[in-house]
Symmetry: C2
């Protein structure tokens, strides 16, 4: 896969089909951009009505364009595009960017035009970016096929966007801020090349250290997970997904259905593939910046070195809510700081060097705390002071940072006075932030990435032993399964279910009592009785065949007496559940990602607390364990306030079995086990109730 | 109170004591700033060694300074300050800013120096800002007593800060962005003038439309609440409080020496006084900007008008998570939009006018949706396009906004290309944001403010009837109360408690059964028996005197037989609690704010879910109701999934009674009722267990 898409960012020669000599046209702006940023390849405007535009010789059609030409950029009305694409194919061009809109996004005729584009691409073995996109920029080659005004600095963030406007807006944000990019790719309708293709390409691009993406929808979820899992082992990916809150008019058919918003599957997929999710545009770049700096922290302990208390307090708040800590410094560190800083400086963490702190003091403080074994990350904080040079402080921070492998992040409070200092730090690869609240989320993401790639479990999921034939027979011809049919289905996949059946005679009750071990609950079955206990219709703690037989007779007798008119259909006999913690386990099939497993607190608390977590099948043991541990139900299972821990392994097994069941039978849309009763360690789980909805 | 602090921002004449002619000194920078921004009052540098500095005549000491002089700014070493302050008092100066540090914040001698400053201020009836501060700026008068480089635009945000560095950083952020301020006040150690004094002053300042504050600690909590409650009725207050987390609090206390209270008390106090809390520096100004625009929305329905889909999707996410909705537009609105916009425009909400949207289209779209009865707020969104003038769009948005009382907020995506457009919008009073994620929190805060001031309940809390004498007797000489003593204490304040007492004879048991209505639980009391039920030591559902007498004998007999060696001390007789929802109610005395009431879900869930809310005593009924409703326990009480609602009124009463109890007895540090069992509507509450800790 490696270099196959490189001509999109660094072609030998690029033809611009539909180039205009009118400065008010987008294609004129594109031609300007192609020549403006040092691109050394050939540039060929194509326009039958012009001889030369912006100093470039113009060609009447693509067949006339000389070698070398390996990329065509098409800016023509949609209906004219297929014929031109065909001509590109005949000319032997393998890479095409279609900027033009008017395809699938407008519906109607546009849909068939896009299909035609794909057909031609297939015929000539061409790769297409777009249509309906803003183009590409290769910052290291200087190639620019967009009409965006201005460009950010050259650097190592590779940015992929499903929205051209977001691409343009992002460029506008970062111009002049020293945040460096390797490529920009606006993918438009993704008729051919998708975000996943581009991520796979950038994984091997030596100029790209971190991949950042703005995504509205991922259409091939399983392939995305497969590719992203591999890529994140060597290069971080950070994604901003919009539409996080659009619930749509999705019908709510169960707890699982109402809990799993459209976004839950994306979040699960990102977690499982070690992709870092950004919540906002700012976070996307804040996180990319720190992930791209190349230094991963060993832990979450931060030393803050500041020239003012207030901003340090705000920073500490931001770090603390994002899982970082401000540890005590070692006695040795404090001694060194005490000796080197002004006497009234505060040498606890945060280290307050006071308002007049000099560049040399910053250097001393940063390099000292970086040597402290209690510190994983150092953050120098500077509020601009009239008598201290921000630029000199920046240079001293860079020198100190060079003495250690630990990450150094700078917080320069302000905007007006810190621009030069920030540029100096960014050029040296030190992520620099102007707001304290933007540092916590970025470092929190860095920690999550470091943790995920160190613990990622690539082992294939062990195949679950299951009676598929039995399961298939139960499912056959059904549109849904109630409690009675769900029991044998779960049993076929080795999930322990509470035994229960309806006896219609005392003899049958006795037989069932022998079959189901332990104590039984026995309940009258009648369509005419709502409150069974009011008519003596429930007996508990029945044990043994004789007792069951007697209990059957007693129930019929009592209820007949209390409610002579009721039709009695028999007695429901169930194993009494051992006491356990009740959780919910479910599966809902997601359009993009397939089976989405859910775990959470059971009973009435499911809806009240929305304490649920999700992962996409197939689950690994680690996935299942993580989904339990990230909920409050998981904390309850671990044993609250000295309570004995519950059988978490058995819950993990159940999740794996449900994952397998969902993968084996694509016709199952939803499964819900609620509650699953979890007993003490080693004592297993028991599904008390469940249901299944098929497609 | 009104204009009493005005000379700090607009003096007739200001003396700068400690003025230096050395450009490397802070006081030189202050003198420059005093003369730089159009201040028309007199400026008098005071320095015995100079005749003139920066063109101002210099005076050897303050006694020599001519009239008019009503403000002194002192920049001298701390030990020299008291004598100079004394001289100011003798000269008749009533307003003094002490910039110098070296007072309480350094401890030791500094503490007595600050006490001396206060004594002198008192003697001469002077008001002091500082010491250890950055000074003040009155943007409308042009007066500037700080050494901060640069100034923001003149406008209507009054900013108060307990950190000079945060003041300086904020100025640095906003320079050139068109965000307008009325005053800056850095309060330093707040030896005399506190954040509350300054808020009270700004409430009457005609140039200030919104008060924004950065706060590390509020030392007089009750006075803050009293003042803020009044001020927010006419002018919004937004506060950023640092030390929200343990780590943040530690940074603050190491910085100023004032103890930061638990953040829960601050949050409660802010809610009760309709102060809007900002979570970050950005939010502080994002919220101030929209609160200062002067238009309050009638509801939460937002129309989005955009020239690009991606940014609108991100905006919709941000709005949705902050309680705003994107409603359908009326058919009439859609028809007008369809007629006025390009044919392929999307006239659903968000209205997508497509990339080429012109200034005239923005005007049409904004003014049209503002007339729609389904819309409360309009947000035009612009991603810069090469062929559309951002400035023209800005002017057209302003014209459209002028046609309606509904708020209009602009989202201009980018930085580089939108600066002029943003300035034009800000100058016209239209809050403008560059990031979608910053709009939701700002509008959410605007809605909260609109709601709080419309529902604020100023009625005094009704005095609770209580038996204070009985309560005093119970508390006398105690350091803590167990369950047995807590019961009568709660009863003295009219809180229903489960009856319970130890009987030492069958006759006494019979007597208690007559006294406690309903069913009883009876339990053996013995220091030698751990598991009562194992030895037949518990009987339930006992009703009536005879049954109680028999049960007493039975318990003694059974247990004596099972455990012949155990010493039996009697039988605990308790009313059986009716089934109810278990909640927790508590009180903890906060250093700054006094009694802090707590409500939340009871049982093991308190710790697991941390589903709790807080308010400061005295509570109003509305406070108590709100604290219930903002928790998940409150949702449970309201009746989940068709369940009958519980007696929320009785919970409100209990909170009010606990509030009264805590106010009546300052020696009580903590009270906890856990669980309080809440029965159905009208059926009341019952405290099942409780304890009290005294100081």
């Amino acid at each position: 896969m490696s270099n196959e898409l490189q001509p999109f960012f660094s072609p030998k020669g690029a033809a611009l089909i539909g180039a205009s000599s009118n400065a008010q046209k987008l294609s004129y702006g594109i031609l300007e951009n192609m020549g403006r940023y040092g691109f050394s390849g050939a540039i060929y405007p194509v326009n039958p009505k012009a001889h030369e535009i912006l100093g470039h010789t113009c060609y009447p059609d693509i067949s006339q364009v000389p070698d070398p030409v390996d990329l065509a950029v098409i800016v023509l009305p949609a209906p004219a595009t297929p014929a031109v694409l065909q001509a590109c194919g005949e000319r032997g061009i393998k890479f095409v960017i279609i900027i033009s809109g008017g395809f699938r996004e407008v519906g109607g005729e546009g849909i068939s035009l896009e299909a035609e584009v794909l057909r031609i691409a297939d015929q000539y073995d061409m790769r297409i970016i777009g249509p309906n996109c803003v183009g590409t920029v290769g910052l290291h080659s200087g190639f620019n096929s967009t009409f965006i005004n201005g460009l950010p600095d050259v650097g190592s963030i590779g940015f992929v966007s499903q929205s051209g406007a977001v691409c343009g807006g992002v460029v506008d944000y970062v111009i002049g801020k020293g945040v460096g990019f390797s490529v920009f790719a606006s993918l438009g309708n993704e008729a051919d090349i998708t975000e996943t293709d581009m991520i796979a390409y950038l994984a091997d691009d030596p100029n790209t250290k971190v991949i950042a993406a703005y995504v509205e929808a991922i259409n091939d979820g399983p392939r995305f997970i497969e590719v992203a899992k591999k890529v994140t082992r060597k290069k971080p990916i950070v994604i901003l997904k919009s539409g996080r809150t659009q619930d749509g008019a999705r019908s709510v058919s169960s707890h699982t259905g109402s809990m799993a918003g459209a976004h839950a599957a994306y979040q699960a997929a990102f977690k499982q593939s070690a992709v870092i999710e950004a919540n906002t545009i700012s976070e996307l770049f804040d996180i990319a910046m720190v992930l791209g700096s190349g230094k991963l922290p060993k832990g979450n302990r931060v030393a803050i070195l500041t020239n003012a208390g207030g901003p340090a307090a705000l920073l500490a708040d931001s770090l603390s809510v994002n899982g970082l800590t401000i540890p005590d410094l070692s006695e040795e560190t404090r001694q060194t700081l005490r000796a080197g800083l002004v006497p009234s400086a505060q040498v606890q963490n945060p280290v307050d060097m006071l308002g007049g702190a000099s560049p040399a003091e910053y250097k001393l403080a940063v390099s000292t705390v970086l040597q402290d074994p209690n510190v994983d990350i150092a953050i120098p904080v500077l509020v601009p002071q009239s008598l201290v040079s921000v630029e000199d402080v920046a240079r001293n921070i860079i020198e100190a940072a060079g003495t250690s492998d630990k990450p150094v992040i700078a917080f320069l409070m302000g905007d007006h006075s810190i621009q030069q200092g920030r540029k100096i730090l960014h050029d040296a690869g030190i992520p620099t932030y102007a707001y304290p609240e933007r540092i916590g989320p970025a470092l929190g993401a860095l920690l999550r990435y470091a943790k995920r790639i160190s613990t990622a479990d690539e082992s294939a999921t062990a195949k679950i032993k299951a009676n598929q034939t039995a399961a298939a027979a139960i499912l056959k011809g059904k549109t849904s399964l109630g409690e009675a049919d769900t029991r044998p289905l779960l049993k076929a996949y080795g999930i322990p279910v509470v035994h229960g059946a309806v006896a219609t005679s005392a003899a049958q009750a006795a037989q069932m009592a022998q079959q189901f071990a332990g104590k039984l609950a026995m309940k009258i079955v009648s369509p005419h009785i709502l409150h069974k206990s009011d008519v003596g219709g429930i007996l508990l703690n029945i044990e043994g065949a004789d007792a069951a037989s007697q209990a059957y007779e007693q129930l019929i007798r009592q209820v007949s007496k209390a409610k002579p008119d009721a039709r009695l259909e028999g007695v429901l006999i169930e194993q009494m559940a051992r006491p356990g913690i009740e959780v919910i386990i479910g599966m809902q099939r997601d359009v993009q990602f397939g089976p989405l497993l859910m775990f959470g607190m059971g009973g009435i608390y499911v809806e009240l607390l929305t304490d649920v977590s999700f992962r996409v099948a197939p689950l690994t043991r680690q996935d299942a364990t993580e989904m339990i541990m990230e909920t409050k139900a998981g904390k309850l299972l671990q044993g609250l306030r000295g309570a004995q821990p519950a059988d978490i392994d058995a819950v993990v097994d159940t999740l794996l079995k449900l994952s397998q069941l969902a993968l084996d039978f694509p016709q199952i849309n939803e499964i819900e086990i609620n509650p699953l009763s979890v007993a003490g360690q080693g004592a297993g789980v028991l599904a008390l109730d469940g249901r299944v909805i098929l497609s």
